[in-house]
Subunit: 177 residues, 2 copies
């Protein structure tokens, strides 16, 4: 499974592509950080992101685009930018006929470090190790996008397995939902 | 000036087109409410909005697309949907080469009712009166989209005038910004 992870942001937006192989091995395919100038028109900034996502999806043909699920308990301005950039990524994926998935920051941290409250440095360290990279991906947005993609590769088989187990148990008990 | 106003929302999104004439007269060109099913995939919902905005922009060829500026002090879930739908509208406008503008809900209410804290019924009443409509636009999202477009028609000449006055005053004083 190939996953394109997006750490959404207006000023810096991380885009990371990872191949999830058998046995949980993940492999780096591509990573980039798309930037838009803070003083540019909001329409132009979102369009620049749209073009970058569309180009990356066309080039790397992911099976899934995984985007960070945004919560609004943080700084108002940042959250709006994150929600806007994320929406553009989701729309670009749907336009290309690619499935989308959302993961919360704590799900991503838990998936790659085992701790849902891990800090940025720890996430970067684990992404570097898991993908066997020779250098730490920089800036943090690049590492976060890769962490999102890894998280998706790992969570999905688990979720599918759990759903299968639940379905089996329900069938055994004659329970209908 | 022709303005396409967008009251952004995932479940119901108001789209209203208004022509602003000389002397502040505004004329209704088009109004619709785009709906997407709450149980559909988020990518599919945003793509449906993107297609609707793109079609409306192509058909009515506005000079400006005016979108509600979102604040996050309200309900988290609603705000996220509003930010996402708004981002898709801004991107669709930029892609079509149309200028974008943002107005806050209180700017819109103040523009059409004279009161920044007016309720929805009052906004609908004034939109109906200002556009000389025979029926009240329904649902409220339709009226809000038209109010946004009217607000833009009225605020822009005022802002331009103010900026001209400021520029003149600065030139007179030899002030350079």
């Amino acid at each position: 499974m190939r996953v394109l992870g997006v750490d959404p942001g207006l000023t810096r937006c991380g885009v990371g592509v990872v191949d999830g192989g058998p046995g949980g091995r993940c492999k780096l395919v591509h990573v980039e950080v798309v930037r838009t100038p803070p003083d540019a028109d909001i329409g132009a900034r979102l369009l620049a992101l749209d073009l970058a996502f569309t180009a990356a999806i066309a080039q790397y043909r992911p099976d899934v685009v995984a985007v960070e699920r945004v919560f609004s308990q943080h700084n108002v301005r940042t959250v709006m930018g994150t929600a806007q950039a994320g929406a553009v990524a989701l729309t670009a994926a749907a336009r290309a006929g690619v499935r989308v998935a959302l993961h919360t920051p704590s799900e991503v941290k838990a998936a790659v470090t085992g701790n849902g409250r891990a800090d940025k440095a720890q996430v970067t360290t684990m992404v570097t190790r898991l993908l066997k990279l020779t250098e730490r991906p920089k800036p943090a947005d690049a590492a976060d996008a890769l962490a999102l993609a890894i998280c998706h590769c790992w969570r999905t088989p688990m979720q599918t397995k759990m759903q299968e187990q639940i379905a089996l148990a329900q069938r055994a008990q004659g329970v209908k939902r």
